[in-house]
Structure formats: C-alpha cells, structure tokens
C-alpha cells in the first residue's frame, strides 16, 4: 500500500482522536478543526519523506502538536512547558473536574501527555516521540498530573 493510502486509512480510523488531541490544545472547535486541516495539508506535503509507514501515527500526532503549539504561540497563549499547571485555571472548581476543566487547567505539554496516555492509549515511548521529549519526563509529567488531578477531584 502506498503512503498516501496508508495515511488515508489512518485518518479515516483516527479522525476523532486526532481532533480531540488538537482540541486539547486549542479548546475551541473551530480552532481545532483548522489545526487538523492544516496538519493534513502539511502531512501530505511531507509524506514523501516518511520512511516507515508504521510510524504514521507518531509522525502525524507530532505534526498536529507542532501546528497547535505554533498557532498558540502566534496568539501568545502558549504556557511554559515546565509549569505543570496553568495559573489561570487555578480558580476553577475542581470538585466538578471533567475533561474541559482538565485541559483548561494543565499546561500544554502536560495535558498532551495525559490525553495521549488516557484517551489514545499511547505508550510512554510513543508519547515521547510525538512530543519530542525524554521518556522519563513524559512519565514524571503523567504521574504528577494524574496524582494532582485525583487530589483535586477529592477536595
């Protein structure tokens, strides 16, 4: 199967997850759609350079993450990667913690880890590839975030 067909198959299967991943960053339907669409265009342009068809998943999620982050940077909405929690979100009522409040409260890098792990069942190694960060950092971020989120729920 050629690369475009593999890609098409992948998109057909995963469009909902991909969209959710983009939404995690953008927190707006319209912006998330734009990010997915732009990522598809970028992916098609670069698909010739993709060496291994098996790698489509990580490769494409990474394009989505990069596209989303650069869009957020453009808007000055990007939150530093090392801060686990976004201060703005601290005022939220965590006793009713749900997906929307979770993605509103976590920093970009951390919520990406949580979503990829919990919603997309990615391995820590895969997540480290998608986000281009060290696998141990991924683990630390994940466990710290989940612990914190759980505590907040129980408050």
């Amino acid at each position: 199967m050629n690369k475009t067909k593999c890609f098409e198959h992948f998109i057909n299967e995963k469009i909902d997850s991909i969209y959710r991943f983009a939404y995690t960053y953008m927190r707006s339907r319209e912006d998330a759609e734009d990010v997915v669409n732009e990522s598809v265009v970028k992916a098609l342009k670069g698909i010739g350079g993709l060496k291994d068809e098996e790698a489509i998943k990580c490769w494409f999620y990474r394009i989505v993450a990069n596209t989303a982050v650069s869009e957020l940077r453009k808007r000055g909405r990007m939150i530093g990667g090392d801060d686990l929690f976004d201060d703005v979100g601290r005022e939220d009522d965590y006793s009713k913690l749900n997906f929307e409040s979770m993605i509103a409260s976590l920093s970009e890098d951390t919520k990406a880890v949580v979503v990829l792990k919990c919603c997309d069942n990615m391995s820590f190694r895969e997540i480290s590839e998608v986000l281009a960060i060290n696998e141990n950092t991924v683990k630390t971020r994940f466990y710290t975030a989940v612990k914190k989120l759980k505590e907040d729920t129980e408050l």
Binding site: E8, I11, V40, N98, F99, L149
Partner: protein
Amino acid sequence: MYDFLNGSEKIKASEQLKKKVRKQIMKHRIRTTVKMSGVCAAAVVLAFSISVNASQEFAFAMSDIPVLSAVVKVVTFGRYSKTIGGSEANIVIPKLEGLADKELEKTINAELAKDAEELIKEFEIDATKLNEYTNGEGHMGIDSNYIVKTDTDKYYAIDVYVVNMVGSSSSTHKFYTVDRTTKNIVTLKGLFKGGSDYVGRISEYILSEMKRMNKEDGGMFWIDEDDLSFKQISENQNFYINENNELVICFDKYEVAAGAQGSPEFVIPTSVISDILVNGTL
C-alpha cells in the same frame, strides 16, 4: 475511568471536518497521479488517436490494406477476481477490435492489458499490506470495467474506468473515442483548428456551467475556494463524443468537485465551439 476524562468522548470530529480532510487527501492523490502519468503522456496521446475505418464499402475500396475488420467493437479480453482479507478486486480487461490500423490496435490493447496488470499488481501488494497493517480489519476494493458510451454510425466511444474504494471511493476514467467515418487521427486537439484556443473556450463554458450549477442545482464544484480550484481543462483532457455528436468533457471524481458530484461530465454545445471546430461540426 478517571473523572477528568468525563466529557472527552463528546469531542468528536464534525462531518464537515471529515469532508474537508477527505477532500485534501483526494486532491493530493489526483495531483500525484497526474504527475506520475505525465511520464506516459506520449502513450496516452497515441491511445486517443485512433484512426479507423469500419464501413464495408470503404473496406472494399481500400482492399489493398490487409486484414480490415468490418466492425469496431470492444470485447472482454480477460477477467480477474480476487479476495485478500477484507479486500476485493474485480477487474475486467477490455480489448478493442476492428481498427484499421492494426499497429495502433495492438498498442492500445497492450496498454489496456498493461493498465490492468498494474492494477492487479498494486491491488495484491496494497491488500496484503493493508491486511497486515490492520490485522485483517482493513477493507479496500478495486472495481474496473468498461462501458460503451457511444455506438453510432459516426462514433464508437468506450469508457474504461477504475473505482478505488479505501474509506471513500475515488474513480478514474480513460476514454477511447473511435471515429468510424474518417481515417483521421482524433484527439481533443485534432478536433479544433490549428492555433485556436479550444482550452480557453471550453474552460470558459465549463466554468460558467459550474457556477450556474452551484447556484441553481446544489452543485458542489470547487471554483472559488483556493489554489486547488478548477481553472481550465488540460490540453488532453478526458473526453468522448456522444450519440448526438456532441463533445463531452469529463473529469474524474474529486478532480473538480466534491465526491457527491461523482465523475462530472460536461456536454459542450456545438454552437459554443463550432467556429473553431475543424469542420464546423462534429
């Protein structure tokens, strides 16, 4: 499940987004196919250029030309059916008979056979890989056959099509129009007077029709969206001549419109092009 995942299942891609993404992929596919087939452009031009004489009287008059079959027709040369995992291919290989120029007939039939052979080869590789890639869950299908579009005293036209189903379906066509009454080579270019801007003239008409259909008939032609919009037909655009002796310009699915539009065909009224047609008529 963690509480903080509550509501995540509601975040789903809209139909509009799915459509948009499909369109991007189809556009990409068509562009790369066009790029690849550019290499075979010479062969395609040759395939379109069928000179033929099927009239009995003429065959008699030209009896010094050996082996002149009386009837131009398309027959089924071979069939291929195969299932691999969840994928299926049904491919019919056509063969043209009765052309005056036996060398040309041979060339065209060799090309038809080669197209089918490549399709089969591609299917076997793709379906096997898809099967492995998706652990037997993936489906794709290839359906290729021919239709006689026109069978009159003047013209014989066939459409050899390939329908490719992976998720959504796309289709491509190759048309062969045989002129029964002249032995002149017929190509789109050959129908028009030298130096005439047939590309511009036809494109202008098609564009106005697309606009009209988008407005009146719920047409979904891509005309003023972005740089991928329809601008003009190519010099060797797919075409055939219908039973009313009218030129029909053809596009593949997703080439100029949303998939719901199928493979659009535009009948060009002869009055629009009569002044630049070689004989003033078709």
